[in-house]
Amino acid sequence: MAKTIMVIDDSASLRQVVGIALKSAGYDVIEARDGMDALSKLTGQKVNLVVCDVNMPNMDGITFVKEIKQLPNYKFTPVIMLTTESQEAKKREGQAAGAKAWVVKPFKPEVLLGAVQKLVLP
């Protein structure tokens, strides 16, 4: 059975791009436009991994990671931050929030897939 990955980004084109890369590797993809939208879509949904942007309206990526770590069903779901942010301070914020990896855009599909394969839950 295909693993499910949630992609959170306020850019529809970026969600499409990440979706193409993941679907071509056999993953099912759920899209959300920001942290708030993602939390509303998580209810009862089996998710094996989350790929999340940092700078988003309504709820940014760091806040989302903090929120998901409070949810019993998703506290162990690995989160990869996929962002244009390259500042070390932001990375440390992501790490402190509970993210498992940090990938900087623009990314090569094989690089993202490598990180996903390493972290995705069975």
């Binding site: 244009t84 855009k105 690089v111």
Partner: protein, 382 residues
Amino acid sequence: MNSLLDNTGGRNYPAALALAGALMALFWPHAGWYGILGALAFLAAGAYAWLQLSGGKSDPRAEVHDYLDGRQQFAEEVTPVWCRHIESSRSQMEDAVSELASRFSTIVDKLDETLRLSSAAADSQDGASLSRVFTQSERQLGEVVATMKSALASKHAMLTRIRELEQFTRELRDMAEGVASIAAQTNLLALNAAIEAARAGPAGRGFAVVAQEVRNLSNRSAETGRSISDRVGKISVAIVSACKAANESSAAEDQAMQSSEGTIDAVLREFRNLTDAMAQSSELLKQESVTIKGEVGEALVQLQFQDRVSQVLGHVSHNIGLLPSLLDENRRQYQHGATLEAPHANALLGELEKTYAMAEEHAVHRGDQKAIAAPSDEVTFF
């Protein structure tokens, strides 16, 4: 402009010039009444010029207020339009790139489906390749040909046996003719014996009976011999006819066999060509698919630059949106009695810098126009 307005000497210079002209006219040697009239003319012109300069001017601080209000109105009217254009461009670019990415997604899906169907055609579910199917078909058809050849060989052997039967019937006919000949000779001997018995008189009466019986037997033997010969002749005719029919059939079957073998070879050759072509096509499709996927991967990297451009435009748009409030603050400070100062660019640029997320935004801010982000190979695992 402020210095000119605040310069009272500059404002009064027409009156000073008129006074100087009047004095020169009065004290010009031998001026007389003409000097007095010239002095009055200079004074009137100076007074007129002074009135012109003084009468058109309002309070300088009020003029600055008007200017600042106009500047504020200008900023509040212009910047929203600029921002709307930037947001509209961002939105259009986002939609277009999203649509482009969607098309790429469709292309990738169709490519995967084509590759799957091609692989399914080239390889069956248990992994048997087209080549293996061909080899199996070739072997099965070879077995059919061998079976047909074996049946034909059996038929030829049977025909040989039938031809041998024909020889046997000839021998039987000769034997029957031999029987008839013996019967004829026996009949002749019995006739001679009957003649000799008649010459012997009463003593030969018994021998005459025996001779008659022998003649009867010889006649029956001759009859049987003829009957055998007749039957064997009929059998021989039937066998010859059967042999002829079998020979004709055998020749037709040999020809049919050769034709079938040729047809099967031709079909197998065509099948082989077809399977080879399909295998090559499938392999080519796989190679092309790998190439296309590589190209799509590159395209996916390039499409991400739209997101970066969109973010930069968003930051600039936000910063442009701050301009009216910055100008308003500058105006308010002046209204509260502070010295009028030009707005500081650093205030706005500092706010812009705070919004930067990308390294090249900082680089471009510093003036490094060559700063272009490269696709990242690096993943930081925590």
